[in-house]
């Protein structure tokens, strides 16, 4: 969206113009009840889980003689084969997943914005190189690549997040590049350049802020796919052995699926819920931020 001309009146009016897109966005977004619910639930989870885990000092490895106990008042999700409280472990696992989602999204978005804007702004061989690399990463099954690398070099959580982050930027880069290509010739960019504003400043002050809406919608989806992939990796046994992970809980609970269903079902349900909420949020953001979809909503 091109910047609206700021009215001459004082700062209040200027603030109003600045906030107008945000208000427009919110008006459309809040009509999507599922996405709104997802926002409330995610805020509760993001603030609540670390608070519970750290304030109550939940000990995920504490074993007891109460082995494979059904869900009850003292163990709302039951206990596993070592008598560990599953709820406590799930909370720790959710914490891990939230970290993974945040990390992957941050790395993916940073690389994507960086490479996408450079490709779109400079064009030529830089553009060609970046886009061919993006194509390659989109086609080559990165899941099995990350699986092999994490398997051989050890699946420390930081390492896995890094691997996931550096392989999920292509979609972001494509979106940003397309936006930059379109914006590059807009009047407000041309006039900034005519005034002698340098490349970097044009990029950061004029172009990039306008590419953000479609990127923001992608962030939630990047986080959800990061969480799902990390869970899959640790499910297959290449996760970080020193960290409680929902995927690992699932694998170790697999053999109890028929005898003590709560052991694998609870961590699995937690992954499902996190991924679902993030996808709902992403969908809602996409509709509210994408002007073409907005008219259909």
């Amino acid at each position: 969206m091109a910047e609206r001309p700021a009215p001459r009146a004082g700062t209040l009016a200027r603030l109003h113009t600045r906030l107008q897109p945000l208000a427009d966005f919110w008006r459309v977004f809040r009509r999507n009840r599922a996405a709104l619910l997802a926002v409330y639930a995610l805020v509760a989870i993001v603030l609540g889980t670390p608070a519970v885990v750290f304030l109550l000092a939940v000990e995920p490895e504490a074993i007891s003689t109460d082995v494979l106990a059904r869900p009850s008042r003292s163990h709302p999700m039951g206990t596993d084969y070592l008598g560990r409280d599953i709820l406590g472990r799930v909370l720790h696992g959710v914490n891990t997943s939230l970290l993974v989602g945040t990390g992957v999204a941050l790395i993916g978005v940073s690389i994507g914005i960086g490479l996408g804007s450079v490709a779109g702004y400079y064009g030529g061989w830089v553009d060609h190189l970046v886009m061919r690399a993006a194509d390659a990463l989109l086609i080559v099954p990165t899941f099995f690549l990350i699986l092999s690398i994490a398997f051989i070099f050890g699946g420390r959580l930081v390492f896995v997040v890094l691997l996931l982050g550096v392989t999920t930027w292509p979609q972001i880069a494509r979106i940003v590049r397309a936006e930059v290509l379109a914006l590059r010739e807009e009047a407000f960019v041309l006039s900034a350049r005519a005034l002698g504003v340098g490349d970097a400043k044009v990029m950061f002050r004029e172009i990039l802020p306008n590419t953000l809406p479609p990127v923001i919608a992608m962030v939630a989806l990047l986080a959800s796919s990061g969480i799902l992939t990390e869970a899959s990796l640790s499910f297959l046994g290449v996760g970080d052995p020193n960290i409680v992970s929902l995927g690992q809980m699932l694998t170790s609970g697999l053999e109890y699926a028929t005898s003590a269903w709560w052991v694998p079902a609870c961590p699995g349900g937690a992954i499902f819920l996190l991924v679902l909420l993030l996808n709902l949020l992403g969908d809602g953001l996409n509709v509210a931020l994408n002007p073409r979809l907005r008219t259909l909503a």
């Binding site: 599922a34 061919r132 194509d135 390659a136 989109l138 086609i139 080559v140 099954p141 990165t142 899941f143 099995f144 690549l145 699986l147 092999s148 690398i149 398997f151 051989i152 070099f153 959800s224 799902l228 869970a231 899959s232 499910f235 297959l236 046994g237 290449v238 699932l250 694998t251 697999l254 699926a257 028929t258 005898s259 269903w261 694998p264 079902a265 699995g268 349900g269 992954i271 499902f272 991924v275 679902l276 996808n279 709902l280 969908d283 259909l296």
Partner: protein, 323 residues
């Protein structure tokens, strides 16, 4: 861009990507911390001389680029390495097990495409109706369901709760049934994993089809078709869907790697003797050549499938041929 240039470009890109997959496989193996020979034989208490002999046999005493060309040469001959733990060439292990994976993957893809595409068309036709919302909700939930979790839910509900279907393996243990009886046995074992995969793939197809059909629905050629008096079914399937199918197939191609991964996960849950079980066991046993073999094979398969999709479109879409 002429047709020849387009095809040549896609061929060159695919060749490059295959080379990239192979090179990644090689470098991951070579950059692994420690000595590959020790990975393979370290646990087996062998003498230093034997280890040296092994290094020579694997070409590890030669310069890196010679090792690389030897590796590529081996791959071109279908040699994916040797699994010491299983005392078998990796290629043979994969060749024996890939049909089992395809037995799950192909029927579920066919079912999911058909149902998903129909649901997507339906949703796009009746935009913002309850049917549209239902399809949207189903595909949102399906898309967000990790296959391994749905598998566990199925096992808990259908197999141990209702005791309707077998949950583990591909056939009844110890059964010596032949012919039709065996086919039936395998089919009952297939139901649950197939259900998981169809549910999961279907969601992606329904979403894609809906978005793609919506995109087409705003184009003027549809109005022309309707004004000519063509039947609605003709307009939707012969006109709109034909054009909408290209982005669907293209994105499907990009999803293939994820679909492989989902199949692997599902196989692990249901102890299905396919690539998933093989990968899972190889990870537990630290069988490096097998894990890398799976990456190289899936990588090459996905690149080839994407190439095929694009070439298919040269035949189907006159805009590419004459564009």
């Amino acid at each position: 861009m002429s047709l020849h240039r387009y095809v040549a470009g896609r061929l060159a890109q695919s060749l490059f990507l295959i080379l990239l997959v192979i090179s990644l496989g090689f470098f991951v193996m070579r950059l692994a911390p420690g000595d590959p020979v020790l990975y393979l034989y370290g646990a087996q208490n062998v003498s230093a001389e034997t280890l040296d002999a092994m290094r020579r046999q694997w070409g590890l005493d030669r310069p890196l680029w010679q090792q690389y060309t030897a590796y590529v040469g081996n791959l071109l001959q279908g040699n994916l390495g040797y699994s010491q733990l299983n005392q078998q060439p990796v290629a043979r292990m994969l060749a024996r097990i890939i049909p089992n994976t395809l037995l799950l993957m192909i029927p579920s893809l066919v079912l999911a495409t058909t149902i998903g595409v129909l649901l997507g068309i339906l949703a796009a036709r009746r935009l913002n109706s309850w049917g549209d919302y239902l399809v949207g909700a189903v595909s949102m939930v399906g898309y967000s369901t990790p296959p391994f979790w749905l598998g566990i839910v199925f096992i808990v509900v259908f197999a141990s709760g209702l005791r309707w279907l077998p949950t583990q393996g591909m056939s009844t243990l110890g059964s010596s049934a032949q012919g039709l009886a065996r086919a039936l046995d395998v089919a009952t074992h297939m139901v649950l994993p197939l259900g998981v995969l169809v549910w999961w793939y279907l969601a992606a197809f329904a979403r894609l089809t809906r978005a793609s059909m919506l995109e087409e629905s705003r184009k003027p050629y549809l109005m022309t078709a309707r004004m000519k008096g063509l039947s609605e079914a003709h307009v939707i399937f012969r006109h709109a869907f034909r054009n909408a199918s290209r982005p669907i197939l293209t994105i499907l191609g990009l999803h293939l790697g994820t679909m492989f991964a989902g199949t692997v996960m599902t196989e692990v849950v249901f102890a299905w003797p396919g690539m998933g079980r093989l990968t899972f066991n190889a990870i537990i046993q630290h069988d490096y050549p097998v894990v890398l073999g799976v990456f190289v094979v899936t990588g090459v398969a996905v690149v080839m499938a994407n190439l095929l999709i694009d070439l298919l479109y040269v035949l189907l879409d006159p805009r590419i041929r004459y564009g």
